[in-house]
């Protein structure tokens, strides 16, 4: 047994993790969630705004992170739509516009009553890393003068009167790295006191905890945060329960459970092998 484990071909481990993720997806495992206080504060930051508030949707991610961030981005969009908030979508990632487009498609499909240009607008991408934040926070038109379709901001009801991001009631950021949540905190939330909530990848979220709650009102950490958030959303809006798309992150918690257990088991077995080997003196 020890000899087998010591010289184990790592392809067996690959197979194991593949199965750990594939089986729950195939069988569609789902579990109820227990929303943590942190997730609740994100939910409430959006929920407690008066209906029709102005919300800046800063979606800074690319397909590389869509597995973690799509579910929470969609959930943010849904909640804002249900609250009739006015949504201003923008991205700082060149690969971001199609990610925003998927959110726009969601609005068209699930909320046909909302009108483009009145309830939501797609401002697209601007290069310059944190540069566009620095500009949009004092003068939006100095970096974005038209939406992605080329319609001037002055010609749309929801943007005609907006001068800069300081007028927003909330910034919602979903981000996969640089530029992302940290930059929104540094250049918008902190210097201009704009309430901000964020959802980010597992790699990033531990580094953002120091900003909560003064500079960030709340933070969704990776897919677990998204699942808890979806759970709160389903609880508050029963009409979403019929919609299988509103359970994207909840469905992902099945693979998460099994895979986490497998990883823990692998660490434990690996260490046993290590210590047995050390006591036998062959390491």
């Amino acid at each position: 047994m020890y000899q087998f484990l010591k010289t184990l071909d790592r392809r067996w481990i690959f197979l194991l993790i593949l199965l750990a993720v594939a089986i729950p997806i195939y069988w569609g495992w789902q579990f109820p969630e227990r929303p943590s206080p942190m997730v609740r504060s994100v939910f409430e930051a959006i929920e407690n705004l008066p209906d029709g508030s102005h919300v800046w949707m800063a979606y800074d991610y690319d397909p590389g992170a869509q597995g973690e961030l799509h579910p929470m981005a969609f959930a943010f969009t849904r909640q804002c739509a249900l609250k009739h908030h006015k949504m201003y979508f923008m991205t700082l990632w060149p690969q971001g516009p199609p990610m925003i487009q998927e959110n726009i498609d969601l609005l068209k499909r699930e909320f046909p009553d909302l009108t483009y240009g009145e309830d939501y607008v797609n401002l697209g991408y601007r290069p310059g890393y944190e540069g566009p934040i620095k500009l949009a926070v004092t003068d939006l038109r100095s970096t974005i003068a038209a939406d992605v379709d080329g319609t001037s901001l002055d010609d749309m009801p929801m943007t005609a009167d907006v001068k800069n991001i300081q007028e927003m009631d909330l910034i919602i950021n979903t981000s996969a790295g640089y530029p992302g949540t940290k930059e929104w905190v540094l250049y918008a939330s902190t210097p201009y006191n704009i309430p901000t909530v964020a959802g980010c990848t597992g790699v990033q979220s531990p580094y953002l905890y120091p900003y909560v709650p003064r500079q960030l009102n709340g933070l969704l950490g990776a897919i677990k945060g998204a699942a808890e958030y979806e759970f709160l959303l389903l609880e508050a809006y029963p009409e979403l329960r019929e919609n299988p798309n509103a359970r994207e992150a909840l469905r992902r918690m099945g693979p998460q459970l099994l895979a986490h257990l497998v990883i823990i088991a692998l660490i434990i077995v690996g260490n046993i092998v290590y210590f047995v080997g050390r006591s036998r003196g062959d390491m």
């Binding site: 206080p37 504060s41 705004l49 008066p50 209906d51 007028e167 003064r214 009102n217």
Partner: protein, 428 residues
């Protein structure tokens, strides 16, 4: 569901009480639920607001005005339904005929910030209380308000002081270091691990592998890595061990060659320097990782050093080298990769420690000086945190027990948090 000892819950509660000004949380909820539960009843329209004033918003470029008023006498949040549900704010340029609506705020609000006005233009405002029974008579400001631009943002005055303090500290120490005074830098244990690892590789007669990260030479972590490389090269030259350096950038290869050659020369072993052992592989992240792990499996180096910027490949490298039983020493400031290096390597230079190690090895006055300057910043943090926590604790105890000085502690606290560290200007 919420446990009393759940710390994040506490964090949330304290957040709610401390930043009420940022979101009108409670008001919004009250408003929505009341509107939903109670159909519009026949009621009379509410009374108007009083004391309406508009004035320039301080500390801006002159594009903001503050409007404030006293509540309508009918504004009672406990009433069912409340007679006032929102206040509408209207505005016109002085001389224009009509007012246009520029915003609305929920009941119990007494102010509105208009961020959409033009500098040097005079404006008049109107506020109307609106409730289920209709609209109150409009009240108009008696004096026009004109937004002006201030010459200095006093709300950021203390920040300017901090910026100056840190910059002065860094500059001073750079000057001191340049003047030739020796600056002490603490011993860094990771550097001893480097010596040990090279020694063991020599004993075993196997090579040392040095990976300078996957970023280009303009990355400060790569530069720090190259400085450590010069140390490793001196040791391998001294002990006569073989040193291999695969790079992910051609410029890094050139620099690494120069550095290693110089070290071998300094040790008096130019004959032992092998140019071809320092080579460029590919720029592509995973391609590079695959090639390096291939090298590790084939050549089984006894010691591996990872010093520079790393991303996801950290895992692949550390795992493979662990498999061949190499001693591994890592150094990076990439926080996301540090956990993997710490778990898989024998020694890891963590974040700033990595830069300190490189400054220590390079002996450059600028590096050592700025490191010292940064330490001054850390002292400043410690001092402010200790004072602040002391005052805060005093205030908290005084507010709940017989302890005296509660009021003084509270005003000191507000000075510290709102003025010095906040945005309320130089003095309360």
């Amino acid at each position: 569901m919420d446990r009393s000892f759940d710390i994040l819950h506490f964090a949330f509660l304290s957040f709610q009480s401390s930043v009420v000004t940022r979101v009108n949380v409670a008001f919004g909820v009250a408003l929505v639920s009341m509107l939903m539960c109670h159909p519009v009843l026949a009621q009379s329209s509410p009374q108007s607001v009083t004391d309406l004033v508009a004035k320039d918003h301080p500390n801006d470029v002159g594009t903001t005005l503050d409007v404030s008023w006293s509540l309508s006498p009918d504004d009672d949040p406990d009433a069912d339904p409340p007679a006032v549900s929102t206040y509408h704010i209207l505005r016109k340029r002085e001389g224009d005929a009509e007012f246009t609506k520029v915003g609305e705020v929920p009941l119990q609000s007494t102010s509105f910030t208009d961020k959409n006005v033009e500098r040097k233009q005079a404006y008049l405002y109107q506020v109307v209380a609106v409730g289920p029974g209709g609209e109150s008579a409009a009240v108009t400001t008696t004096e026009a308000a004109t937004p002006v631009m201030e010459w200095f943002r006093t709300d950021r005055g203390w920040l300017a002081v901090f910026v100056l303090l840190i910059c002065t500290a860094v500059t001073t120490f750079i000057v001191i270091a340049k003047s030739g005074r020796e600056l002490y830098i603490r011993n860094i244990p990771g550097l001893e691990a480097v010596d040990e690892a090279v020694g063991r590789a020599t004993e075993m007669g196997r090579a040392c592998l040095f990976v300078p990260g996957i970023q280009d030479i303009n990355d400060i972590q790569t530069v720090a890595g190259i400085t450590v490389l010069s140390r490793v090269a001196s040791l391998t030259a001294e002990y006569g061990a073989r040193l291999e350096v695969p790079t992910a950038r051609s410029l890094v290869m050139t620099t690494a060659r120069e550095t290693v050659e110089a070290s071998y020369l300094a040790e008096g072993r130019p004959d032992a320097y092998r140019k071809d052992d320092i080579y460029y592989l590919t720029d592509e992240q995973f391609g590079y990782a695959a090639a390096v792990t291939g090298t590790i499996t084939r050549e089984k180096p006894a010691a591996c050093f990872y010093m520079g910027t790393f991303y996801a490949e950290s895992l692949l490298l550390a795992e493979t080298a662990n498999g061949v039983g190499a001693i591994q020493v890592a150094g990076t400031a990439e926080p996301a990769q540090l956990p993997f290096f710490v778990a898989a390597c024998d020694y890891t230079l963590i974040g700033e420690e990595f830069f300190a190690a490189s400054a220590y090895l390079s002996g450059e006055p600028i590096q050592l000086g700025s490191l010292r300057g940064q330490d001054v910043g850390k002292l400043l943090v410690a001092a402010l945190v200790l004072i602040g926590c002391g005052v805060a604790t005093w205030g908290s105890v005084a507010a709940n027990t017989e302890l005296v000085g509660g009021e003084m502690a509270a005003s000191l606290m507000s000075f510290l948090q709102d003025n010095v560290l906040g945005s309320k200007g130089f003095l309360p």
